[in-house]
């Protein structure tokens, strides 16, 4: 056997050791435990599970114990591995290891060092659970677990009010999504009587379309919460309050892609619910455009990348929605490479600028941090879809599929691609070109941080050649036939990307007054976009405020104070009245109590005997 | 019917040998302690005081039994016999050797046998539990004796002993549980049989060496607890003569007094037998037959016989000229019996069992002659704060190792 339990257990042991003993351990030991456990589980996946299960030609199932047994309904602690899982495992453990290594350098001077790594390992445990799950409930355990870790890590700097608020926001918004997911599970249980993937997918094609649509839409709500899609995307930009490695690992590479993974995993259900598919595609596309426009106006380097993440996740959903599941997963993978690189590079930049995150106070860093500059250039090329880079392949696959589905989706996607290239390169130019505008003297990051960046840079550039995901997954999701316009479409999207790069170069390197003029020309629109379309404020006014008001007026003042307290007090006084009578029986003499008991049992025996209850 | 007769015969044999052995155990104890203290020990009655036990028994039987006026008569009289009863009961399930077959005999024209029987009264499959149960009942004898004597020293002795025996019962049970994990049975005979064989051809398969979990710590814990259970030095608080005069048996005299001593020695033999079976491989020899383990016994006897013969021929005292050659003849005879091929399979297991038993008994006596007594709070603290956790840990480690290997 492949001992699948080993994969999540190793990080969990790391969590236990660091979480319990971490305060007393030296930093070196914490590093060894945290990095070693994740690395070991990566090696186990890469060397043992991955190769020997033949990249999942057969599905490997393992049952560990029955968790819930209630009538006919059984949920086991089951793991399963197929090709999709192997890809996810490789991404999660591989990028996880790199980011852990990076974090040992990045978090070197921070307080709560052991706590950080304990949380990070716990996150790995839950994420691997999510990926390995063989039924929805285990997946849900991982799902909730990563949500918890995300909350803990966003609020890692708990002295900062904004960080704890952002943590709360992420947690609460995710609850809405989880509620949807839980409802989806309930419907599955009611209709199919089980939560096991294999059984559900075997029964799904025969189920009524309405049921499947309901399930798929509710799942989409869950996925939208976790993967930050409209309308539940609001938490992700705020989540950047967490340390940068967290942003890279959880809020770019792994956790936020869980929604995409879940939809891909449930492909059978989605394929039989066309309306839901259409909804997924439209939501994905809308999110992609929407977030890209916000990204253009932001000045905080991490916020730019955060909106970029939302936008790219929209792309993945677009892929899923138009039926190109494997393209979605491919983009998930390449996105994990280059977005992790972007975030880690941003971390390196922030590190270089002594904690400054505003791009207006950076600039000219290519002189001070050449390596960071080179790797970030690689990542920016990849996300812009420069031919030959990893992003080019996956984005192209999605766009081609979108064109087949509906040409207008392709055109919107191309525009978004152009915007993406523009704002990412805008960030690049603002950071590395021109003169240094910040304070202090910037410096290059240590080798322990740069080494993972270089690995990721190689993956970002060559990831498309190295891992051809649709080819790997062709057993699960058949390859699409080539269409005649393919080369033309490719050229168009590459042109859009190059155009975006070119415009940004013109605006932020050649003619630096231009951005300000444009902003002035489109004053109200610019301010609206810069304020992220004021969605947060709208949510506050529409949902949060009424909720607080209503709770105060109805639940607290009326229900709690009036009904519940009244009932409790009334019962109390009534009981006191009855007790005053009954206390006469309580003589304090144990033997008379015993007599009462015996007399009572005689009565019961006689009653049972007469009723024939002795049998 | 045959079963009853065979059991009766075995009962009589075991009782006779055991009672005699108990009497002589006291002689051995006095002699060993004397020699540790560079004294002679009993030497007047019989050669080397060998008839001393007999004289003691006669003295104790013929002495007047004093019945103090203030005692609770029924319990006062019942307690010593209860103690002896409980001490003797567990000897009935202790196997001394392997199965034996009594060849067919013709008596008065009828053919009897052949009979196959075991060298114990009963092989029950919860034998270890019975030993524990009986040893836990042993405390009643002492507690009742202490209480019914209506004497404050006796009462204190009884209280101390009940507390002590309850406390040491725990580490003892835990120490017994550990080898049971490797043996996988509760029958004493089966446990001894799991310890058959040798590692690398010479290291016996005994529980104290056994793979995967050598029970050496269990053995040590068991022996310490056994000292306390039998109220022996260094744990003889209940009868500490300089604190409590004589503890729970201060009011007793003559045969009822002797009964307590008998119970103490019978308990010693029982716990040593249990230790032999659980930890030291029962009747299985120390090294394989191929290396000549069967020759040890006859050679030993022959050597003892030779020494006797030598001293008989060169007597230090005139009486030795007669007695020592007689002993020499007896020993040579035993050597011959032990080397006689048909009897070897029957006698050799008994020899090895007895040898191990005697070694452990010697340990008891040796320690009595060497160590001082514990203070009472030290005694309880030792049981609860040291022995109990260590036994628990030992059990945990053993269980873990066994689970790991299986």
């Amino acid at each position: 056997m492949f001992k699948l339990w080993l994969i999540p257990l190793l990080p969990f042991l790391g969590f236990l050791i660091n979480g319990i003993l971490g305060k007393k351990l030296p930093k070196l030991a914490i590093n060894a435990v945290a990095v070693g456990s994740v690395l070991a589980s990566f090696l186990w996946v890469a060397l043992v599970v991955g190769p020997s299960s033949d990249w999942g030609a057969h599905k490997l199932q393992a049952h560990y114990f029955t968790w819930i047994a209630s009538g006919n309904f059984h949920v086991g602690w089951d793991f399963a591995v197929d090709k999709l899982t192997i890809i996810m495992l490789m991404i999660v453990t591989g990028i996880g290891s790199l980011i852990h290594i990076y974090a040992t350098g990045y978090m070197d001077h921070e307080g709560g060092y052991y706590r950080f790594f304990a949380y990070l390992n716990l996150f790995m445990f839950f994420m691997l659970n999510l990926v390995l799950a063989a039924n929805y409930l285990i997946l849900f355990v991982g799902w909730e677990g990563v949500g918890l870790c995300s909350y803990l890590l966003i609020g890692f700097y708990f002295n900062k009010k904004s960080a704890t608020t952002a943590g709360n926001k992420a947690f609460i918004v995710n609850r809405i999504g989880d509620f949807g997911f839980a409802l989806a599970m309930f419907i599955i249980v009611i209709n199919f009587g089980t939560l096991d993937f294999t059984k559900v997918f075997a029964k799904a094609p025969g189920a009524p379309v309405e049921t499947l649509t309901a399930i798929a839409l509710l799942m989409l709500v869950g996925a939208a919460g976790k993967s930050a899609q409209i309308p539940l995307y609001v938490w992700l930009p705020d989540a950047m309050e967490g340390p940068t490695p967290v942003s890279a690992l959880i809020h770019a590479a792994t956790m936020v892609t869980a929604g995409v993974y879940m939809c891909t995993r449930s492909a059978v259900i989605f394929l039989h619910a066309p309306i839901a598919m259409e909804t997924v595609a439209i939501i994905g596309l809308a999110t992609a455009v929407f977030a890209a426009t916000i990204g253009i106006t932001q000045y905080d380097i991490k916020k730019v990348f955060a909106y970029s993440t939302v936008s790219q996740l929209g792309y993945m959903f677009l892929g899923v929605g138009v039926g190109a599941f494997s393209a979605g997963v491919w983009h998930l993978m390449t996105h994990a490479f280059f977005k992790a690189l972007l975030f880690l590079g941003a971390g390196s930049v922030i590190h270089a600028c002594h904690g400054e995150q505003d791009m207006r106070h950076m600039g000219g860093l290519k002189k001070y941090a050449p390596w960071t500059c080179i790797v970030l250039a690689c990542a920016s090329l990849a996300i812009a879809g420069f031919p030959g880079t990893s992003g080019f392949f996956s984005k192209d696959a999605i766009l081609t599929a979108a064109y087949e589905h509906a040409p207008w989706m392709f055109w919107v996607g191309v525009v978004t691609a152009g915007m993406t290239a523009f704002y990412v390169w805008r960030a690049f130019w603002m950071t590395f070109w021109g003169e240094y505008r910040g304070h202090g003297k910037p410096h290059e990051s240590p080798m322990v941080m740069l080494a993972p960046l270089m690995v990721l840079a190689v993956l970002s550039l060559g990831g498309g050649f190295l891992f051809n995901v649709p080819e790997i997954l062709k057993d699960m999701f058949p390859l699409k036939e080539e269409i005649p316009e393919e080369h033309m479409l490719m050229a168009i999207s590459v042109a859009a990307g190059l155009l975006g790069i070119g415009i940004s170069w013109y605006m932020y390197v050649v003619n630096q007054e231009l951005p300000g003029k444009i902003a002035n020309a489109f004053g109200p629109l610019y301010r609206l976009i810069n304020d992220k379309y004021r969605v947060d404020e709208a949510y506050d006014a529409a949902i949060v405020e009424p909720l607080i008001e209503g709770s105060t007026a109805i639940l607290w003042k009326t229900v709690d104070a009036g009904v519940i307290d009244g009932t409790v007090n009334g019962v109390g006084s009534q009981a006191q009245g009855i007790g005053n009578v009954l206390k006469l029986i309580q003589s304090g003499n144990i033997r008379s109590y015993a007599t009462w008991i015996v007399a009572g049992s005689v009565v019961i025996i006689i009653l049972m005997g007469i009723a024939g209850g002795v049998r | 019917m045959e079963f009853l007769v065979i059991t009766g015969v075995k009962l009589a044999l075991i009782l006779f040998i055991f009672m005699t052995a108990l009497a002589y155990l006291q002689w051995v104890e006095r002699k060993v302690i004397a020699h540790v203290q560079v004294r002679m020990g009993p030497s007047r009655v019989g050669p080397h005081g060998l008839l001393q036990p007999l004289a003691d028994v006669i003295k104790l039987i013929t002495k007047e039994g004093v019945l103090p006026p203030h005692v609770n008569k029924f319990y006062y009289l019942a307690a010593p016999f209860f103690a002896v009863f409980m001490a003797l009961i567990s000897i009935s399930i202790i196997p001394f050797g392997t199965d034996i077959t009594i060849p067919a005999m013709v008596i008065a024209g009828k053919t009897f046998g052949p009979y196959k029987t075991m060298m114990e009264l009963a092989d029950i499959n919860v034998g270890v539990l019975l030993i524990l149960a009986v040893s836990s009942l042993g405390v009643y004898g002492i507690a009742l004796a202490g209480w019914s004597s209506n004497n404050k020293y006796a009462l204190l002795g009884g209280l101390r002993s009940s507390a002590q025996m309850i406390s040491y019962e725990l580490p003892m049970s835990l120490a017994i549980a550990a080898p049971l994990l490797t043996a996988g049975t509760l029958s004493l005979r089966a446990i001894a049989d799991t310890q058959k064989g040798f590692y690398f051809g010479f290291l016996p398969h005994w529980a104290i060496f056994q793979f995967p979990a050598p029970q050496i710590f269990s053995f040590i814990i068991f022996m310490i607890a056994a000292f306390a259970e039998t109220n022996r030095i260094p744990f003889d608080l209940p009868e500490a003569e300089n604190e409590l005069v004589a503890g729970f048996h201060v009011e007793y005299s003559s045969m009822s007094f002797a009964a307590f001593f008998m119970a103490e020695y019978a308990n010693m033999v029982t716990v040593c037998s249990v230790a032999t079976i659980l930890f030291l491989g029962g009747w299985h020899p120390l090294f394989p037959e191929s290396m000549g383990s069967n020759l040890v016994a006859p050679l030993l006897m022959a050597a003892v016989g030779s020494v006797c013969l030598y001293h008989g021929l060169n007597p230090a005292r005139p009486f030795d000229r007669i007695t020592l050659p007689v002993f020499a003849v007896v020993f040579f005879g035993m050597a011959g019996l032990l080397a006689f091929p048909p009897t070897v399979p029957i006698i050799m297991p008994i020899f090895w069992f007895t040898a191990k038993l005697l070694f452990l008994l010697f340990l008891f006596v040796w320690i009595r002659a060497t160590l001082p007594r514990f203070r009472y709070d030290q005694l309880m603290g030792f049981a609860w704060k040291f022995l109990f956790p260590v036994a628990l840990l030992n059990l945990l480690v053993t269980g873990f190792l066994v689970a790991l290997v299986s």
Binding site: R591, T595, A599, V602, V614, R615 | S136, L137, A163, I166
Partner: protein, 166 residues
């Protein structure tokens, strides 16, 4: 032999049980109770419950009752005072006991379904292996809960019995 053994030990059990109630001195009661428990252990053995029989001896006779005797000796409890204050228990209690015994006897006569017979050795499901197996698989949770219960009892007993520190 089975009925013979049953009758013998049932007689001992009942006689000693009556003795528990009748004896004036607590120690006599306690020893009678030990005898009841020992004869019950024999009856358990007759029904093939060898492990429980031994556990009965070790736990009840060897531990619990020793504890009782220990406490009786410690408190030096003498014979009971016969004058009591609660006549209530006597007036209502005796009829209640008779009612209990009578109703039990009556309904066991009339309402009891036909039950089987017990012959020594006809069922061997009560050995240490079977009990242990069931204990550590199906009944693991209750077992663990009782271990916690015992821990609580130990702590409680120590706290209660400790002499006041102030």
């Amino acid at each position: 032999m089975d009925p013979l053994f049953f009758l013998l030990f049932a007689f001992i059990a009942v006689a000693c049980g009556v003795n528990v109630v009748l004896q004036k001195h607590p120690i006599s009661s306690a020893l009678s109770l030990v005898a009841v428990m020992a004869s019950l252990a024999v009856l358990y053995l007759l029904q093939g419950a060898e492990f429980i029989a031994m556990a009965q001896m070790i736990v009840y006779a060897g531990a619990i009752m020793v504890l009782f005797i220990f406490v009786i000796m410690l408190l030096n409890a003498g014979t009971e005072e016969t004058k009591g204050r609660s006549w209530m228990a006597l007036i209502f209690g005796v009829p209640a006991i008779i009612g209990l015994l009578g109703s039990l006897a009556y309904f066991m006569q009339t309402g009891m379904p036909k039950l089987g017979e017990v012959k020594f050795g006809d069922w061997k499901g009560g050995g240490a292996y079977e009990v242990g197996y069931a204990l550590f698989t199906q009944y693991l949770l209750p077992f663990e809960v009782t271990s916690v219960l015992i821990l609580i009892a130990i702590v409680g007993a120590i706290v209660l019995a400790r002499k006041e520190l102030d």
